[in-house]
């Protein structure tokens, strides 16, 4: 059985309309994959940057997967939220990216999007915040039923991921 180590961090986010951001993240892998150690989901701290506009989380990721097949390669899915000074949370964006498949260091920039509602919802959003959210996080990383969504572009989340593979070459996999 081949093994995959993902060692890195969710560095932070930039390009969002508000600061004071946090991120809920998770890793989804197919049925052939088994997680041996590490947390596969979590929530970062809320950062309100003093210099510049990039919010920094430095959230560590250390995962050890074992697999019997290449299908269902792990994907990291993210939800970026804004927390204001009163403690209220508002969704700012969804995004996902595949875990890199080649060994070594990678700097990944994950783009994000936010669902956009009807014009009444957009008007309400401009005044009181809130807005439509996905019922289930599966839509973030799956293509099914995406055609029903109308979304707008949001900022970028930066991740630094180090990949260590084990025994992939014994199975003839080139990466």
């Amino acid at each position: 059985m081949a093994e995959l180590h993902i060692i890195g961090q969710i560095i932070g986010a930039s390009g969002f309309p508000q600061n004071s951001l946090f991120c809920k993240w998770g890793v989804h892998a197919g049925g052939a994959w088994r997680l041996l150690s590490g947390l596969k989901e979590g929530q970062t701290q809320v950062d309100n940057p003093q210099i510049g506009e990039m919010a920094y989380w430095s959230h560590p990721i250390d995962l050890h997967f074992t697999t019997k097949g290449l299908q269902g390669w792990p994907k990291i899915h993210l939800q970026v939220w804004h927390q204001d000074s009163y403690g209220r949370c508002q969704l700012l964006g969804y995004g996902y990216c595949h875990v890199p498949s080649s060994p070594g260091h990678h700097r990944v920039s994950c783009v994000t999007w936010r669902p956009v509602g009807t014009w009444q919802e957009q008007l309400a959003h401009a005044f009181v915040g809130g807005g439509p959210q996905l019922r289930s996080p599966d839509t973030i990383y799956s293509g099914a039923d995406r055609y029903r969504l109308h979304t707008e572009a949001m900022g970028t989340v930066d991740l630094e991921l180090g990949i260590i593979t084990s025994r992939f070459d014994k199975f003839g996999v080139e990466s």
């Binding site: 979590g42 430095s58 050890h64 060994p103």
Partner: protein
């Protein structure tokens, strides 16, 4: 040099905490320590230390420590890969020592020369009154154990403020990672047979090949 079938691999870190960039603060020092999983053991070098107190130069806004990091770890598995945890402290207006930033980064996983710019953040009090009283009394919120910064759990909805960066440079060597079947290096074989790196490793028998090609 090594046993025919090694069960552990080694990770050697030679580096330095070069300096910091904190626009609003001066006269800072830095404490460092390593956080690693239970498969890992440090075999040589110091696991923690404190730098000198430095101040900004007359010509530049940079704070320089130039503090050496020399440590070797051994492990049976890459899980729990070591992280370098930094805490930066400095005096406030009244002369008390307060924390100016916490930060953490994983030690790079590939051999060679690497540079990291680590963002530093402080925990934030939630109420404005608390912010004022903590400024007045010189008692800012601090983590009881800075190693919390290297963990993922328990950080959700803690408020922080990022206010600076620390630059660290690393020179990494590994030993016997390939013999154990773990590869942070691409193993694609080029058209002409072995790649330059693979020929070097065959000749010298270990992964002590620098990252420069």
């Amino acid at each position: 040099m090594a046993a025919v079938n090694p069960s552990v691999f080694l990770l050697t870190v030679n580096g330095q905490i070069e300096g910091a960039n904190f626009p609003e603060y001066d006269n800072l020092y830095c404490k460092y320590c390593y956080v690693f999983g239970h498969d890992w053991t440090p075999t040589s070098g110091l696991e923690e230390g404190i730098t000198q107190i430095t101040c900004k130069g007359s010509l530049s806004d940079k704070l320089i420590w130039n503090f050496p990091l020399e440590t070797t770890f051994k492990s049976t598995s890459p899980s729990g890969w070591p992280q370098l945890v930094l805490s930066v402290y400095g005096p406030d207006v009244f002369g008390n020592d307060v924390v100016r930033g916490y930060g953490a980064t994983h030690i790079p996983i590939t051999p060679g020369k690497h540079s990291r710019t680590i963002p530093m953040f402080v925990p934030e009090p939630t109420w404005r009154l608390q912010r004022f009283t903590s400024w007045l009394l010189g008692r800012r919120p601090e983590y009881t154990d800075p190693k919390v910064v290297a963990q993922g759990e328990g950080r959700g909805v803690t408020r922080v403020r990022s206010q600076g960066f620390v630059t660290v440079s690393f020179n990494i060597m590994t030993k016997d990672m390939k013999k154990l079947g773990k590869s942070p290096l691409s193993t694609t074989v080029s058209e002409g047979g072995l790649s330059w790196r693979q020929r070097q490793e065959q000749q010298f028998g270990s992964e002590i090949v620098s990252g420069h090609m």
